[in-house]
Amino acid sequence: MTARATKSRSRAGRIGGVSGSIVKCICPRGVKTGYDWSVMAALEVEIWRGEGNDGSWRCYAVPHQANQTVLDVVTHVQRHIDPSLAYRFACRVGMCGSCAMTVNGRPRWTCRTHVSRVSRKGRLRISPLRNLPVIRDLAVDMAPFFEKWRDAEARFVPSPVPVEEPVRPGEPARKAADAGIECINCAICYAACDSVAWNPDYPGPAALNRLWTLVNDRRDGDQDGHLEAAGTGCHLCRSHQECAEVCPTNLNPTTAIAGLKREVFRRTLARPPWEGRQ
């Protein structure tokens, strides 16, 4: 074993400080990858392995290459070191939103995240997204995310009558809608959000962002329904702005949720008290 691989394994042993975890280092020598570690830099990659709430960190040595993404690293582990690793990806180009994971403590889209940008002294720590149930290893169950999206009624309802006035790109409402429509449903904002972690009734930034685009869409025929659906949920947002910090497509759900709060508040004030709450 070369000096570099030895160093990698000895460092991995210190990872045992993680509470309740069992560390097992799989070095490249053991699986005969054929890499010459004397000329190739090794990444030390800790990956969360387990099912449901039970699991542990395991360490892998992966060759560091130019322009390598975190998804490349995970794929290397699965294809060359441990085929039992479960993770999810599809397009690899930042379109589908299926490869989100927690990388060094922050949720990210792994296919567009370069290792050189996020590794700390050649180390990566990769775990499944927060706030979602883990199926196995790095794959989470996205059902709660989409169920909240559905329950928030964040879907387009065609207007029963045709919109006669053409929708112009420059009108304020359309601009507000356009600012939020590039969501790829990756659930990174959902994983980063403390309000989601603290309150299971909170729909989450993505669903509310979608609601705000619909409220600003003149072609949608159920503005009142959308605002009623947003009524309690949007006020559970604590405006931490974590969603805006982590959104890979640079959306700002906090702006959308603030817009919903304003609109719900304005409509509540405009409604005569004797009509009661809807």
Partner: protein, 108 residues
């Protein structure tokens, strides 16, 4: 993952809790004004460096809760601004300024 807006939220929340704990004591002391001698005893006790410093801390908490609250109102009811970090810095700076102003007045 922690960043400026999260810490601003935490400080706003903690300052509110701290004030809620302090206010009953504050009203109790005010209640002593009914008996003038008792109030004077409290005021005499409070006339030293450590109590003044503690009072300055309370002023900072109060100012922090006020400016933090205005920041949240602006965030949620005002026009969106990308200068959120500047607003946080301004809210914190004004609170500290209020505390130093109190100390300056107390020892003037």
């Amino acid at each position: 993952m922690r960043h400026g807006s999260w810490w601003a939220f935490l400080l706003h929340r903690l300052s509110g809790v701290a004030l809620a704990v302090f206010l009953p004591f504050h009203f109790f002391v005010l209640g002593l004004a009914v008996e003038r001698a008792a109030l004077n005893d409290v005021l005499d006790w409070a006339d030293n460096l450590w109590v003044k410093l503690a009072e300055a801390g309370l002023v900072v908490l109060l100012a922090l809760h006020l400016t933090g609250g205005v920041r949240v109102l602006l965030l949620e009811f005002g026009r969106w601004s990308d200068r959120q970090q500047s607003r946080i810095a301004l809210a914190g700076g004004l609170a500290l300024l209020a505390g130093f102003g109190f100390l300056a007045a107390a020892f003037a």
